[in-house]
């Protein structure tokens, strides 16, 4: 895709956003479960799932931080054109998107306050692949335990220690998405 051509994210925003949100709602309600999130022409290097997450949740009220390789002119133009979300640094963002190494360190994002823990950032973490292998997770939304290929077990444990403050994560790989809210415990 060229840097100048703007692609339309949703051709029928109300219905496409509703369907995409249902996937995200299920993903956040059932951490570790893999869901399919497809149906848009994502600007490289964004995955389809990450692009749909941004289209569904972002607007002029949500500053977005494009981390590392996600910060390209094509992505900037696409995001601004489709959502109107202002671009910002990690300190003031509502959403951040990028690969794990580019998103680090995690302590620079808004973590919420004790009285308003919801005022924390949501990280959209781009992965090469997602699978139900690796780290064993438990917590609200998980029936017993679930295994997930998380990027960094130690960071999750540290994030859980902040509860009810903390970061929520949406892991994306291609057209696959998994929720990783702050309530998740690493076993």
């Amino acid at each position: 895709m060229s840097d100048t051509a703007l692609t339309i994210g949703f051709t029928d925003p109300p219905r496409q956003a509703a369907r995409a949100f249902r996937v995200l709602l299920n993903a956040m309600a059932r951490p570790g479960r893999l869901y399919t999130l497809e149906g848009t022409d994502a600007p490289l290097p964004l995955s389809e799932a990450a692009a749909l997450t941004l289209l569904t949740l972002c607007d002029p009220e949500t500053p977005v931080f494009l981390a590392g390789t996600a910060d390209t002119p094509a992505v900037r133009n696409w995001l601004t054109f489709n959502t109107g979300a202002p671009l910002t640094g990690p300190e003031h963002c509502a959403f951040a998107v990028g690969r794990w190494d580019a998103l680090l360190p995690l302590d620079r994002y808004p973590l919420g306050t004790d009285q308003y823990p919801d005022r924390s950032a949501t990280l959209i973490v781009e992965m090469d692949a997602l699978s139900n292998t690796g780290t064993t997770l438990a917590g609200p939304g998980i029936d017993g335990t679930v295994a997930l290929s998380v990027p960094d077990t130690a960071a999750l444990t540290a994030n859980r220690r902040l509860f009810p403050r903390g970061l929520d994560m949406i892991l994306t790989a291609g057209g696959t998405v998994a929720g990783l809210p702050r309530s998740v415990r690493v076993l």
């Binding site: 509703a18 709602l25 956040m28 609200p140 009810p164």
Partner: protein
């Protein structure tokens, strides 16, 4: 019947995004009340404006919606909300709990067990369980932040001291995942055990009070009690006069001027299904 002049599910997209973000934060912090910019809806506060906004933000065109008011599908509130979404979202509706994908409820949890494919949306009048003990939002915010719930136990203890039992019979406070004390909306305490470890997603919307909160599936929800006064999900000690069910929550109905009364299932779909099967 379709009102094409309205956006899908009535609300504009930016409002839905704002509600959707609040819902995701609510699920990430089970039992915590997320503030949201509640809109005026074409119905008065107290008629489920919070629940309607949550439902509007969640509905997809493929959903089958059920709406109940105190367990009944055929009361004014349920009928009008159902027809509201028929007109503005063109979704299918149903009265059968098992067939529904989204269920908006006023003050009951259906008797039929919920599944992983269902979302239960509660209409909430007063989301703050500590509100009648502490009128200041500034103070109750602090109490939640500090996990300072002693006052709630004092209230339940005073019930025992005065009445011999915990007299709270609806909106019975619960603790979610051993962290937040939460108002389950004015469901009878009979329904409280169904809040815990449910396969369905449970979402709560309070329109006038501008709060959204959530219980993810498979989440531990415990009704507050004392070791020597354990929680008792009591119900009327009768079978249903229509279907004979002994396990369902019952409404007491006055049937004449001589004080005659009968007890019938509050869940109309549950009762009708049982009678259909029995016939």
């Amino acid at each position: 019947m379709t009102e094409t002049a309205y956006n899908f599910a009535y609300l504009d997209e930016q409002t839905k995004r704002m509600i959707r973000r609040a819902l995701l934060k609510g699920l990430a912090i089970p039992g915590y009340q997320v503030p949201f910019a509640s809109r005026e809806m074409p119905m008065p506060y107290g008629w489920g404006t919070g629940g309607v906004q949550v439902t509007a933000a969640c509905l997809t065109p493929e959903d089958r919606l059920k709406v109940i008011d105190q367990g009944a599908d055929d009361t004014t509130n349920a009928v009008s909300i159902r027809s509201f979404f028929q007109r503005t979202a063109e979704v299918e509706t149903t009265e059968a709990t098992a067939d529904a994908t989204v269920i908006q409820t006023r003050h009951r949890i259906p008797e039929h067990p919920l599944t992983e494919d269902q979302i239960l949306v509660y209409q909430v009048p007063i989301p703050e369980p500590l509100r009648f003990l502490e009128p200041s939002e500034v103070e109750t915010r602090k109490m939640h932040a500090l996990e300072d719930y002693g006052l709630m136990h004092v209230k339940l203890y005073e019930d025992i001291a005065r009445h011999g039992t915990i007299a709270t019979s609806y909106a019975y406070p619960v603790k979610v995942e051993d962290r937040y004390v939460m108002d389950p909306s004015p469901i009878p305490k009979f329904d409280n055990p169904k809040l815990s470890d449910s396969p369905a997603i449970q979402l709560f919307g309070a329109g006038r009070e501008q709060r959204i909160y959530a219980i993810p599936p498979y989440t531990q929800v415990v009704s507050l009690d004392f070791e020597d006064h354990p929680f008792d999900p009591s119900k009327a000690d009768h079978p249903c006069a229509l279907c004979g069910a002994t396990t369902s929550y019952l409404d007491e109905v006055i049937v004449d001027d001589e004080g005659g009364r009968m007890f019938v299932c509050s869940d109309t779909d549950f009762c009708a299904t049982r009678r259909g099967e029995a016939a």
